[in-house]
C-alpha cells in the first residue's frame, strides 16, 4: 500500500514536471527561427528567415495538439530533433554531454561526499583535535568564495601559470576516445582540476553536516551505554554511530546526485568541459525547445530516480523507517 502511494506520488511529480517542461520554453518571446536568424547578426540574407522556419518545421498547430504530440513522442522515447545542432537528434546530442557530466560532476560529488563525511566523522570523534578546530573554518572559508571566481583563479594559477593541468576539454586532442590507457589518462588529467574546484567548494558543507550529526549521535544514550558495556571504540564508531549519523547526509547526497545531471554549469563554462551544463546554456540561447525538453526530462527523471534510491537506502540503514 505504502509502495503504491509512493509510486503514484512519483508519477504525479513526473507528469507535473513534464508539463511544465512543455510550457516554459514556449512562454519565451520570439521563436527558434528568429533566434537562429538573430545569431548571424546580419550575415544571413533576410530571406533566410523563411527558409529557417521551413527547415525547423516550426509548428503553428494549437498548443493542445502540440502537447498531445509531445506526450506521444515521449511515450515512444523520441526526443525530437535539436534545432541548434540541426539535424542531430536530441538523444544523440544529450548522450555526448551526459557521459562527461556523470564522470566529472558525479565523480566530484562522490569524492566530496566521502571525503567530507569522513573528515566530519573524524573531527567529531577526535573533538578538539586539529581536524576539528582548523579544517571547518578553512573549508567554510573556501566554500564561501563565489564559485566562478574560485574556478577562474584555480584555472589561471594551476593551469596557466604553473601549467600543471590542462584548462579546457575532457581529454587532449592527441588521444582517441575509446577503451585505451592514453585516453583514460588524458580524461583523468583533464577532470582533476575542475573536479578539485568542485570538491573544495562543497567539502565544507559535507564535513560540517557530518560532524554536527556525529557529535549528536556520540552523545546519545545508546552509544554511551555501548561504551559502558565495553564495546571497542572502533566498533562503536563504525557500526553504530557512523551508520546513524550518515542518514541526514545521505538524504542530501541523494538530492545532489539527482542534480548532477543538470551539469555543473559554472565549472563547465570555466573549464570548457563538454557536459550537460554547456548544452543547457546553448539550448537556452538558441531557444532550442526540443533540446531543452530533453535536458529537463533527464534532469527530472534523475532527481526522481535518485530520491527513490535514497528512500530505499534510508529504509535499509534505519530500522525506524521500516514501520
Amino acid at each position: 500500500m505504502n509502495l503504491v502511494r509512493r509510486l503514484s506520488l512519483y508519477l504525479l511529480a513526473a507528469w507535473v514536471a513534464l508539463t511544465l517542461n512543455f510550457i516554459l520554453p514556449r512562454a519565451m518571446p520570439g521563436d527558434p527561427a528568429q533566434a537562429l536568424y538573430a545569431r548571424f547578426q546580419g550575415r544571413l540574407d533576410p530571406e533566410a528567415l523563411g527558409a529557417l522556419r521551413l527547415t525547423l518545421g516550426i509548428s503553428d498547430a494549437p498548443m493542445f495538439e502540440q502537447y498531445m504530440s509531445y506526450l506521444g513522442q515521449l511515450a515512444r522515447g523520441e526526443l525530437g530533433t535539436s534545432l541548434v545542432y540541426f539535424p542531430a537528434p536530441v538523444g544523440e546530442v544529450i548522450g555526448v554531454g551526459l557521459g562527461w557530466t556523470l564522470f566529472l560532476a558525479g565523480g566530484a560529488l562522490i569524492v566530496a561526499f566521502a571525503l567530507g563525511s569522513g573528515l566530519g566523522a573524524w573531527a567529531a570523534w577526535r573533538r578538539g583535535g586539529w581536524t576539528d578546530t582548523l579544517l571547518p573554518p578553512l573549508l567554510s572559508f573556501l566554500g564561501a568564495f563565489p564559485y566562478f571566481w574560485l574556478a577562474m583563479a584555480a584555472a589561471w594559477f594551476f593551469g596557466v601559470q604553473l601549467g600543471w593541468f590542462p584548462v579546457r576539454h575532457a581529454y587532449g586532442p592527441e588521444v582517441t576516445p575509446g577503451w585505451n590507457l592514453d585516453f583514460a589518462a588524458s580524461a583523468v588529467r583533464h577532470a582533476l582540476l575542475p573536479g578539485a574546484t568542485m570538491v573544495v567548494a562543497s567539502l565544507g558543507g559535507w564535513m560540517l553536516t557530518m560532524r554536527n550529526t556525529m557529535v549528536g549521535v556520540l552523545g546519545d544514550e545508546p552509544v554511551r551505554f555501548g561504551l559502558a558495556r565495553g564495546l571497542s571504540p572502533r566498533r562503536l564508531f563504525v557500526d553504530y554511530a557512523l551508520r546513524l549519523a550518515l542518514l541526514p547526509s545521505l538524504t542530501s547526497f541523494g538530492m545532489a546526485l539527482g542534480f548532477v545531471l543538470s551539469g555543473a554549469l559554472l565549472t563547465e563554462m570555466v573549464f570548457g568541459y563538454p557536459g550537460q551544463g554547456m548544452l543547457l546554456l546553448q539550448a537556452v540561447r538558441g531557444q532550442d525547445y526540443p533540446l531543452l525538453q530533453g535536458l529537463f526530462l533527464t534532469i527530472t527523471l534523475a532527481v526522481l530516480g535518485a530520491n527513490a534510491v535514497v528512500d530505499v537506502l534510508v529504509v535499509a540503514l534505519d530500522p525506524r523507517a521500516r514501520s
Partner: protein
Amino acid sequence: MIGLLALLACADPPRPPEPGVLTVLQEQQSAWVRNFNPLLSTGGARWPAAAGIYEPLAIYNRMRGEWVPWLATQWSWEVPAQVLRLELRSGVEWSDGAAFTAEDVVYTFELLAAQPALDAAGLWAFIEVVEQVGPREVRVRFQRPYSPGFALVAGQPIVPRHVWSQVADPVAFANPDPVGTGPFTEVRRFDPQVWELGRNERWWGGAPAVEVLRFPAVGSNDQALLALVQGEVDWAGSFVPAVERTYASHDPEHRRWWFPAVSDTVFLYPQTTRKGLDDPRVRRALSLAVDRERLVKVALHDYATPAGPTALSDGYASWRRADLGGVGEGWVRHDPAAAAALLDEAGYSLGEDGRRRGPDGTPLELPLIGPAGWSDWVRAAQVIGRDLDALGVRAPVQGLDFPTWFDRVSRGDFALTLGWSVSGPTPYPFYRALMGTGTVRPVGEPAPVNWHRYGDARADALLAEWEATDDPQEQRRLSDALQGLFVEEAPAIPLFPTPSWGEADTSRFTGFPDPADPYAVLSPNAVPDALLVLTRLRPRDGAAAARR
C-alpha cells in the same frame, strides 16, 4: 586509488601538433556535431562546409572590392541584368574522382527550388530557370532584371549531383562523409571535442600546402582567449580585449592581429514611426549629440573607428562619396550646440527642469534597449544615454536578454535600440534594408531587417533602377544618390563599423594576410573569403622544432 589516478595523470604529457596541421578557432561550440550540409541555413553545418569542402562559383573579396573567379572562370550578361551566362572551370573533380560539370550546378539550383527550406538566399524569388548550355556552361535566367542577384548566384555552394540525388531528405541530411570540390574534403577524425579535415589531393589548384585543419571545440570567449594566449591556435577570429598586451606581446615576432573595419556598421536605430522620431531633424540632432570618438574608446577598446556620414564601412571604400565628408564630419560630427539648435527648431525646447518637451508639453523620453550580455554594446548604450541626457533628452538604457530584445526590435516595439546592419558586395542590400519600402513591415509584425520601419519612395525608385542595370557606372551614380538620400533623411544613426576580428600565429605557418599584403581579410569568420587564405598558407620549415 589516488595513486593510480596520479599515475594515469602523469602518463601522457600533451604533444605539440605535427607540422602541416593548422589549428583553427572559428565556431564557438562546446561539443562538435558531425554535419557537413553546406545548404543548411541553420548554422548547423561545420564552418568549412561552405568554404573548404564545398565552393561557390565566385568569391567576393571585400578587401580588394573585386570578384575572384572560383568554380566559374568567366561570366557575362546575355540580356543585361536578366540572363547570366557562366563558364565553369575545367579540370575540376569531386573528391571521389567524378568530374565536376554544368550538370552539378544546374542540379544544385534545382534542388533549392524543390526544397525552399534550403534556399537561404531566396534565389528562386528572382530566378526563372537555370539551364545547361554546354558541358561547362550554364545559363541563369531571372524573372525580371535583377542585377543584385548575381552576388547571390555566385555565392551559392555547389553540391555533387551524383551524391545528393541519392539523398532522400536533403533538409535533414547531415552529410557525414562529404564529397566536395574544395581544397579540404577528407574528414580524418571526428570527436565531440576535436575534429580534423585533411586536404583534397585532387583539388583543382593543386594539393594545398596545409595538410590538415584541426578544430578543437571551444565553448566560450574566455576559453577562446586562453587557447590563443597559450599559443594553441594558429588562426582565429575572436574578439580579444587589449589584444596587443594579452595576445601579441607573448610572441611579438610571430603573433599578428588585424581588425580592419570592413564588417557591417552598428547603428543606433530610432523607431521612425514614433512621434518625434518621425522628424529627420530630431534624428539628426540625436546623431550630433553622440560623441563617437569617446564611444569607440569606451565601448570597443579603440578597435573601431567612428562611422562616416554615409554609414558605409571600409568594405565599401570604393563606393563612398568623398564630398559628403569623412569620419567626424557632417551629421556624424560631435556638436551638442548644433543638436540643441535642431531640437529647438523641431519644436522640442528646453524646459526649466532641463528636459526637452514637445509643443504639447510631453517630455521627449527615448528609452534605449540592447542585449544585456553584449558588454561592448552595453557600454556604447551608456555613453549614448549620457550624451542624450546632456541634450535634455532622457534615454534610460535597458539591457534585455537576447531573445526578448530581438523579439521587441523585430516587432518595432522600441524607441531607440542598437543593432547591426546588412552587408553585401555593393551598397544595394545595405541601403535597401535601411530605406526600401519593400523591407518595411507593420509595427507588431516581426521584420528580419528595417526594424526602424523607414521606407522612402525616392529610395525605392533608385533601388529599382539599380536592379535593372548591370552597368558599373550607372550603379555608381545610383549608389551616390542613395548615399545622398541617406544623409538627407537620416533614417538611422550610424555609430561604428564592426571590426573584422582576426588573429594569426605565424610561428608554424606563413602567408596570412596583413595590412602590408591585404589580399583578403584575416578573419576566418568571413565566409567564403576564408578559401582565399586557406589556399595561400604555407607551413614554415622546421616548424615542429621551433614549437615550444
